[in-house]
Symmetry: C2
Amino acid sequence: MELPSRIQNAIDSFSRIPGVGSKTAMRQILQMCSWDDRDIQEFGNTISELTSLVRCRLCGFYSEEELCSVCSNTKRMSNGVICIVESISDCLAIEKSETFNGAYHILGGVMNPLMGIGPDELGIDKLVKRIAENFNSVILAINPSVEGDATCSYIKDHIPDEINVDRIGFGIPMGGSLEYVDALTISKALENRKKM
Amino acid sequence: MELPSRIQNAIDSFSRIPGVGSKTAMRQILQMCSWDDRDIQEFGNTISELTSLVRCRLCGFYSEEELCSVCSNTKRMSNGVICIVESISDCLAIEKSETFNGAYHILGGVMNPLMGIGPDELGIDKLVKRIAENFNSVILAINPSVEGDATCSYIKDHIPDEINVDRIGFGIPMGGSLEYVDALTISKALENRKKM
């Protein structure tokens, strides 16, 4: 007993999403099959419309126009602070905290020589030029990992000395419990202790 | 900093799938945004093609034609055995075990008076007629639950007495461990013990 090819094709498409296995894909597609035709059509259309997305010329965020809403916001751009993140999701996470009011730059990854990702692939020379011309303070909001640390060092080394470079703080997450946090995080939290 | 509306729409569509939250949807859609345009288009098309699916006139399985591959297989249909399942996924699970060679009937749910699902909604009179005319043995492969048990009893009561009605066996799952199995399953396993 085989599923009609249309359903099987949809399941195959779905399983190509990272993190979706064939069982999940089947369950979800069979669920969708019972939706109204109009809803399915709409779903398919919203996906198809994701083609030829434009990225902001300056920061690399997805945008409908040449510049994204942050890069075209003169108030935020004149703040003198730029936050460098790995990915668009990281950028959205920071925006959600509503505590940063400067510019962004999305690297699109971190340096990883084994994967052939070096400074050229991430466009770090262009970024350094952008920083030197427009900002006096840099926040490196790059995730902690061997590659992330190396990327931060590389960027720091290439930015003119008169520009202040910070890396986001590491420590115990809010709501976290010392009991369950790993040893490295605890050592970072002790190192980053702050006078009350 | 907002995502372009096209991306936001796709995320909203995605979160409508049962079991997909807004965070998962965002992560997956942002992943998809980096795919080739052709792949995205293909994905969207496979979804859009899920409209106006036809169900097999006899068993209720999705089918491209009037009858599904099982119902049009005279060898399987003449076996005299019909297996009644709740959903298409249950049916596929049984097919995967390659141990059943008869006909199927997909109920599309179980009786649930609180949700307004009674014998009429499940088409049980049509099923009983189908069984009486074509089969001499029924396997009720309906999941164990209060509603499932009630549905099984109802079907059993309405099937002519000369037709043999079985329910699938309950017990310890293969690879399972008595230590971790719940008490009800253990009591069922003891009840369903079998002479070696």
